[in-house]
């Protein structure tokens, strides 16, 4: 009897173990790849994820963070090895490449009409390619013109410039009065950052990256004018010549230490430069507006810097991944972390316009920019396109070739 009892206990114990083991196996684990740079910070993403896991005890999320420069290569490498992530953060310039090469899952059917209508149009370009959606937009961003209010005041300039020509004229006054050596600082390093600044000027000058047949058109009209503007601003001594080695963080360093009157940068610089005394010597002096335009061409220049969340084709937990993505991009979560990255929801900006917020200048710059967002080319070989164009732009900026020659050479190489 005792033997029977012991056996029964053993069998029960074993079944209990199996049952619990089974339960543990049923728990879905999501591997997610994010960026540790600008936009939502690592601690933001961890906090959002913890909030999600509270209501989803059957899910576990493994988070991985990499610098922006590695994000693209991590995603393609994981696809190349046939395993890896269930959720990935990706940039607005990659959906064509990821769609054509079946790296991301088509989620068109998962997005309802209501969501489609409530999200900013510029945000949708991050995930749509040839009328199919490859994820959910997560943040929408553009670069704005930041200016040092105190310096403009000292130079007797009442309003921030509305056109790029005005900006150059203002910069010359600031330089002449000896307020700073180089009034404008840019991110013109051989990287994607220089393409973003160029895209803003190209739109202002009414140019195009590609013509309607998909051939390079940046070497004519507005595209050429934009590069001439950049090169001339170095020659005139108003652009900080060190810009050719700078990325966005270097621009923030120069502007925040009071060594520039004007700078182009993303949303994240506003809070850091204007309100954080640990990071900035110009607290309370930072103005921000949508980037200027060109008289007679375009009243504004912008660059779509939105990012999206997608599900790699190789993921085995696509439903769970989508549920997590929906939570991260929900209006409540996005509004909570709006200081890190502008939300994708139109309602957020409508609400913000009604309130008297301390960051209302930023809100106005965002609203004006998001209405006019310009895209970099949506081509599957974008990385190569961008690398060649970066080279051409730097050639002209460093005085190794005229803007015409540099852009013509790049255009003819890229059309082959």
């Amino acid at each position: 009897m005792a033997l029977f009892g012991r056996s029964l206990a053993a069998i029960l114990g074993l079944s209990a173990m199996l049952a619990f083991g089974g339960a543990a196996e049923a728990k879905t684990t999501l591997n997610a790849l994010f960026m540790a740079q600008a936009g939502y910070s690592e601690s933001d993403v961890r906090a959002m994820t913890d909030a999600y896991l509270k209501d989803h005890p059957d899910v576990a999320v493994k988070l991985e963070f990499v610098p922006y420069e590695q994000l693209h290569d991590k995603i393609t490498l994981a696809a190349g090895s046939g395993e890896g992530y269930d959720v990935v953060l990706y940039d607005v310039i990659w959906p064509a490449e990821f769609a054509e090469n079946k790296i991301l899952t088509d989620v068109t059917d998962r997005i309802d009409a209501k969501t489609k209508a409530e999200v900013e149009d510029g945000a949708w370009t991050t995930v749509y390619y040839k009328d199919k959606a490859y994820g959910m937009p997560w943040s929408v961003d553009s670069k704005y013109l930041f200016y040092n209010k105190e310096m403009l005041q000292k130079a007797g300039i009442a309003q921030p410039p509305k056109t790029w020509d005005e900006l150059i004229a203002d910069a010359k006054i600031i330089k002449q009065r000896g307020i700073v050596d180089y009034p404008i600082v840019w991110s013109w390093s051989q990287a994607e950052a220089v393409i973003c600044d160029y895209a803003i000027l190209l739109q202002a000058y009414g140019g195009k990256f590609l013509d309607d047949s998909g051939k390079p058109a940046f070497n004519k009209g507005g595209g050429l004018d934009a590069l001439k503007f950049m090169a001339n601003s170095i020659k005139d001594g108003v652009t900080n010549p060190h810009s050719t080695e700078y990325l966005e963080e270097d621009v923030r360093g120069v502007f925040s230490s009071g060594k520039a009157a004007f700078a182009l940068n993303w949303t994240y610089m506003y809070g850091m430069a204007n309100t954080n005394p640990k990071e900035s010597q110009v607290v309370g002096k930072v103005g921000v507006v949508a980037p200027p335009g060109i008289a007679g061409k375009n009243p504004i220049g912008t660059v779509n810097g939105a990012m999206g969340l997608g599900i790699p084709e190789s993921s085995k937990s696509k439903d769970a991944a989508w549920d997590y993505i929906k939570f991260l991009s929900s209006p409540a979560i996005e509004a909570k972390y709006a200081a890190s990255s502008p939300p994708i929801w139109k309602s957020f900006y409508e609400e913000a316009a009604k309130q008297d917020r301390p960051d209302k200048d930023l809100m106005a710059a965002e609203a004006a920019s998001f209405e006019a967002l310009s895209n970099r080319p949506q081509v599957p070989e974008y990385q190569q396109f961008s690398a060649r164009l970066q080279q051409a732009i730097q050639q002209a900026l460093l005085g190794k070739a005229t803007p015409e020659d540099a852009l013509n050479a790049a255009a003819s190489e890229l059309s082959n």
């Binding site: 490498l77 390093s189 190569q384």
Partner: protein
Amino acid sequence: MESRGRLLLLVPLLVVLVAVIGWPLVNTVWLSFTDTRLGGDAGSFIGLNNYIHAFAAPAFRRALFVTALFTIGTVGAEMLIGLGVGLLLDMDLWGRKFLRGLLIVPWALPTVVNAMCWRVMYNPDFGAVDAFFQQIGWIDEYRSWLGDPTTALIAIGLADIWKTFSLVALITLAGLQSVPKDLREAAAIDGAGPFARFRAVTLPVILAPLTIACVLRTIEAVKVFDIIWVMTRGGPLDSTKSLSILVYQEAFSFRHAGYGASLAMLSVALTLLLIGAYSRAVKMQKVA
């Protein structure tokens, strides 16, 4: 029987080596003859096309040139400075022990940390390098060292030399310990000057370890990636794009896995040549 037993004990290690080195190597050789794209469908065999394309491509020739310049410049300077410092620290200096300890610091610093420190020092608006040169009157105004194609590679080279000359100095110091003291004293008594003593007594003993240090440093320099990636990522105007940076860009950014593999194989071939030189240096040491 005993030797078979020994071989049997080596099997686990060999299996691991084949799995982590052998198989990827064979796979890379195969990839280099195909037009495989990363993340896309498997490519097809295209013979030597990737290699022909590489030799015709200005980007490859340019990267080869950048790599050669970096290697000759940094290894040359590291050998000279390392030898000098090694000889100096062998002398009866005040605080010699402390200085010898200090020598290990740059070598022990992770490359990425070293690269980031130097990037800050070279910063054209706040950097210590500009401040120093301006104060001693060499430059009128601050300039960009890493943003100018004529100075970027030199600036990275200096950062690399600072980090690695100490390895050569340490090897020199170790070699100098086996120079017989009485031989040096005898040479001095015989009236040999410092230079003659160095050439006839010291150099023959430390030549072999120095050769090995030189070859090892050359192999490292040919493969250079991390210090450039952190400081300039190959810019400005590709002036610091070494072979390894080019391989990374082609294979992972542009997803040309096949072409990237062929460039990597060419880089391996170059390294193999240097390993040949290394084996010869080792043999030479045995003879000595």
